[in-house]
Symmetry: D2
Subunit: 132 residues, 4 copies
């Protein structure tokens, strides 16, 4: 499991006074980016040095508790499934009171950067996922 700290910023909210739902996906992705960085596979490196891309083919989220500007959140990232050329990540979004305010899932496929066909997950990514 990987933990990521963030805070609901004013531009994450809307005039209903709460987090705009699509921003929960952004915050989940921020946690994913931070994890990629932590395993030496940050996007800057992926784009410059590696032969695969990891596009998201499915995403979903549940919104359980209203979140507002200034709320301090911990996003816990875990792996739900590792396939041959795909993987599924799960996110728990916890408030400072340790309430799960929301959850999310993202399904990623590994694509060959040149021909855009699916390819097996590279070993270093597979290893990192299996330890998540």
């Amino acid at each position: 499991m990987f933990s990521f700290q963030t805070t609901v910023k004013l531009h994450n909210t809307d005039s209903a006074g709460l987090l705009f739902f699509a921003h929960q996906f952004k915050m989940a992705h921020d946690a994913y980016e931070s994890w990629l960085d932590s395993i030496g596979l940050g996007f800057a490196k992926l784009f410059a040095e590696r032969d695969f891309l990891l596009p998201i083919v499915h995403a979903e989220a549940d919104f359980k508790t209203a979140l507002a500007v200034g709320d301090r959140l911990t996003i816990e990232l875990s792996v739900e499934e590792i396939g041959n050329s795909s993987f599924t990540l799960a996110y728990d979004i916890r408030t400072a009171d340790d309430v799960v305010a929301g959850t999310a899932k993202t399904v990623h496929v590994c694509l060959d950067k040149v021909n855009r066909g699916s390819m097996p997950l590279p070993d270093d990514l597979r290893d990192a996922l299996s330890q998540l």
Copy 2:
């Protein structure tokens, strides 16, 4: 069914060169807002004059075809389910070539603005949904 036209803007893309996934949810919500306007229930009016809110409790999307800056899209909004105090909307995102590049769903609950408990869908909203 309600149709909404939009174009992928530069700020909807990321440095992988394609639409950032969370922005598909934003574009779907833009279509929903446009439909609310068309039935006389735009958010400005809801916030000012009505006693209910319609927060999203679940959202999901599939990403089938890569979308890039400048792509002209038609988002077709339809209703999938109408409950007593909730409803589910479905979105097909079609390219200029009429390919379904992606889909989305959002589940909304009707909450009393004051006590934040669920309440039955108001009649005008229920009628408009049943005609969607």
Copy 3:
């Protein structure tokens, strides 16, 4: 002058109940993108076929009147200055009542895509700017 129609969407507002200031820059850029499309120099084409980039080196905006969700806006794009390898665009953001709710400016330089040095504006872009 080029006119662009847009509507303040829920995700353009924040929990102060009004347009979040940075989104005025996004909306101005949407107008600029639409103008580029209209002169046959949309970003998809620029990225695929041309040898220059047009990064923004300065941007500024004034916020005169509060804007809220659902407000219908007309953004009027005009050119303020055309240099050898740069140009300045000006934006007036008008409400449905024809009030200038805000203004913006963006200064763009023309960079060679390969060596990233400045280069003279290409003739077709210069011509289009001079007619704006």
Copy 4:
């Protein structure tokens, strides 16, 4: 001076491969929000307990160096001017190599929440600004 750490996220970039200019304003505002929190005047508190708002009436930014996904930034917030009912903040955006990649300014006015007219800066905010 107040320092704020951030990282360029994928959704801050666009398909030109670099930071989308408007997101520099968002990141500057994130620094401002973090400073407000640090002086006990975070937006959640302002909205719930105080009688003033601090809308931005002018914003500007210079973009000196291209920023890309994964770049770790330090935003240094300082005060440029304190008026009777307004103040101007300045932001230096520094890379990990201590290069100023960009700058920004925001001008804020203090408005009475009820009648929306300008009002003198409250003492605690003025004191905090004078120590910035």
